[in-house]
């Protein structure tokens, strides 16, 4: 038996495209808008969510038969809060500057709708292995959008990628800047992320008309 059956593979691949948590379900928009001005922050945020979701889904799945229905939200919150605090402390210990950039948004992973959504919709009803795959898949779907948006915004807004000047030096006017090009300040502010996400949604639905809702 293969490690991943076709059904399992779909658990990971679907959220990347046709069931993407950000562009299709429109969840987790808040952090996608706030921290994607830099690619590095986007990647770290994506990894943090990947960790919390993969592990959180497994934990909830293991406990799914012993959680009383009345307090399931509280239990879910405790699980996700524990994991988030672990991530937060690791960031503070090993990447302090970055944790400053991400500021409250690491803590706000707790309220990220994607995580609670997957706990409710999937982990409470499926086994740990499948829940793990589902968590990874959705976190990757979130990560893809974050990285695309972060890439576009950092490249156009600051002329850098991961902090490296790829377009030349805007002050010394080297590289592309010598031709009169300038950084687009609009890309730095959060509304630009909304428009970039909107354009991604637009492109995705144009390519796959089945995703367009009926009026």
């Amino acid at each position: 038996m293969a490690l991943l059956t076709k059904k399992d593979t779909n658990l990971i691949l679907d959220p990347l495209t046709d069931n993407n948590p950000i562009t299709i379900q429109v969840l987790g928009i808040c952090s996608a808008l706030a921290i994607t001005a830099e690619l590095k922050a986007s990647v770290v945020m994506a990894i943090a969510v990947l960790f919390v979701m993969g592990l959180g889904n497994v934990v909830i799945s293991l406990m799914r038969n012993i959680i009383p229905a009345k307090i399931k939200i509280i239990v879910q919150l405790i699980v996700v809060a524990t994991l988030v605090i672990v991530v937060d402390q690791i960031l503070k210990a090993f990447a302090y500057e970055l944790s400053k950039t991400l500021s409250v948004f690491v803590g706000l992973i707790i309220t990220n709708c994607i995580i609670m959504g997957r706990f409710e919709a999937f982990a409470l009803a499926n086994g740990p292995w499948r829940s793990f795959l589902d968590g990874i898949g959705n976190a990757l779907g979130y990560a893809v959008i974050l990285v695309i948006v972060g890439f576009i915004r950092e490249l156009l807004g600051s002329g850098t990628l991961f902090g490296y000047a790829v377009l030349g030096d805007p002050i010394a006017k080297t590289g592309l800047y010598a031709t009169g090009y300038e950084n687009n300040g609009f890309m730095i502010i959060p509304p630009a992320a909304l428009i970039v996400v909107g354009i991604i949604i637009w492109v995705q639905r144009t390519r796959n008309p089945a995703l367009v809702e009926e009026n």
């Binding site: 090009y181 300038e182 687009n184 890309m187 637009w202």
Partner: protein, 427 residues
């Protein structure tokens, strides 16, 4: 008729027929409609014949803009040479035929303002053509006015590629995503300006962008200050500018390309009102709104609540009616706020819509020194609220008429002799 004798128009017509139903058809149709009046007429049914179609409406606005455009070309040169004189210690007195309407001035206008117009139209129409082909509809005239407004509301030295990028953004995000001409929520020309403002603030504000080449000469021996009047006021330097009231009214002052001449804008506005293209209600109420806000600020100063050390003093003590003749307020009110697509539709709604545009413009001017020009933000904000205003006006109208109906009619009785409630769908 032999092939040689065919006119360009005929050839285009034949090409058009050849491509009918094909993918590129809208592009040929567009070119045909853009250059000529098409021969096709409707053949069946009864129709009301009215000459004022979309194209004529747009052309009327453009006619109202032509004097402003011509003036702006002279003013571009005039400000340029006046700034050089000022750097050499000579204060220029404007004389319309002596040093304003000169070929030297006009030449600066040709090399600086015309490229802005060409890029604005070229890029904007290209985007319109592309969307017409993709969506398979006829090209719409929607960009005709926007394309003329855009070069008039940007600083003279705006790099052309920035303008091109902004036009693409404004037309796609401001208009096409909502469904094209007539469906947009925000005024596309102002969307373009807002994008420019937030994307490239160093080119859109400050004291060095309003006069041609002021940036290049900054710091040099003939460094010049091209500060706008609002800019001086925002820094509490009201005594430093030397422009008289008539300079402000007739427009011999630095500013965005076409916004300076309140006189010509006034003429254009009257032309639009008498040709019934633009709403006089919006214009009048916006002027009232600006005056009311200006009076309130003047009142605050008169009461002594704000001293001349306050950072708001310069703009607050500015005589309230002079707000109308500096900056882009007049231009915005006449040509932007009256856009029939993005403005309020109901007559009562137009009063609210216009009033708040004037009111908020002056408020933003005074309270936010980072935006000495608030009119474009105020209009965009009210664009967003226009449908809400209309909604409540219509709801109010329904309620009022229902009440009148209730008072005037004897209610029908139901089977038990009780009077039935009148009901109406208000959703």
């Amino acid at each position: 008729m032999s092939d040689k004798r065919l006119t360009f128009k005929k050839r285009l017509h034949i090409i058009k027929h050849h491509y009918r139903g094909k993918k590129m058809a809208p592009a040929f149709n567009a070119l045909h409609t853009f250059l000529f009046t098409p021969d096709e007429t409707t053949h069946s049914g009864s129709h009301v014949r009215a000459a004022d179609d979309l194209k004529r409406t747009m052309n009327t606005v453009i006619m109202a803009l032509v004097p402003v455009l011509l003036f702006s070309m002279f003013n571009a040169g005039y400000q340029y040479y006046a700034a050089i004189d000022a750097a050499n210690g000579v204060i220029r007195e404007v004389s319309v035929f002596g040093n304003f309407l000169t070929w030297d001035n006009f030449w600066i206008g040709i090399i600086k303002v015309l490229p802005l117009v060409v890029v604005s139209y070229g890029v904007g129409l290209l985007v319109e053509f592309i969307f017409a082909v993709i969506k398979g509809h006829e090209v719409e005239e929607g960009y005709l006015v926007t394309g003329m407004l855009v070069p008039l509301i940007v600083p003279i030295d705006t790099p052309l590629w920035m303008l091109a990028v902004s036009v693409v953004f404004g037309v796609v995000i401001g208009k096409e995503v909502f469904g094209g001409t007539g469906m947009n929520i925000l005024n596309p020309a102002l969307t373009i300006r807002a994008f420019l403002f937030f994307a490239y603030p160093t080119w859109m504000s400050g004291d060095k962008v309003w006069v041609h080449e002021a940036v290049e000469r900054a710091g040099g021996p003939d460094a010049i200050s091209g500060e706008t009047i609002l800019g001086y006021l925002a820094q509490n330097n009201a005594s430093e500018y030397t422009y008289s009231l008539s300079d402000m009214f007739f427009g011999f002052i630095p500013g965005s390309v076409g916004e300076t001449s309140t006189f010509l804008i006034l003429i254009g506005g009257l032309f639009l009102i008498f040709s019934k293209i633009a709403s006089w209600r919006i214009m009048l109420s916006a002027v009232i709104g600006a005056l009311v806000m200006g009076l309130m600020f003047n009142g605050v100063v008169d009461q002594g609540w704000i001293g001349d050390t306050s950072k708001f003093y310069g703009l607050m003590s500015f005589p309230f009616w002079q707000h109308l003749i500096v900056g882009g307020l007049a231009f915005g009110i006449v040509y932007m706020a009256t856009d029939p697509v993005t403005g309020a539709q109901t007559n009562r709604g137009k009063w609210f819509y216009g009033f708040f545009i004037g009111f908020l413009s002056v408020m933003i001017r005074v309270f936010n020194p980072a935006y000495p020009e608030g009119v474009f933000l105020a209009i965009l904000l009210m664009n967003v609220f226009a449908p809400t205003i209309d909604h409540y006006v219509i709801r109010g109208n329904i309620k009022r008429r229902l009440k009148r109906l209730k008072n005037a009619t004897v209610l029908p009785k139901d089977s038990e002799g009780e009077e039935k409630e009148l009901q109406v769908e208000t959703a």
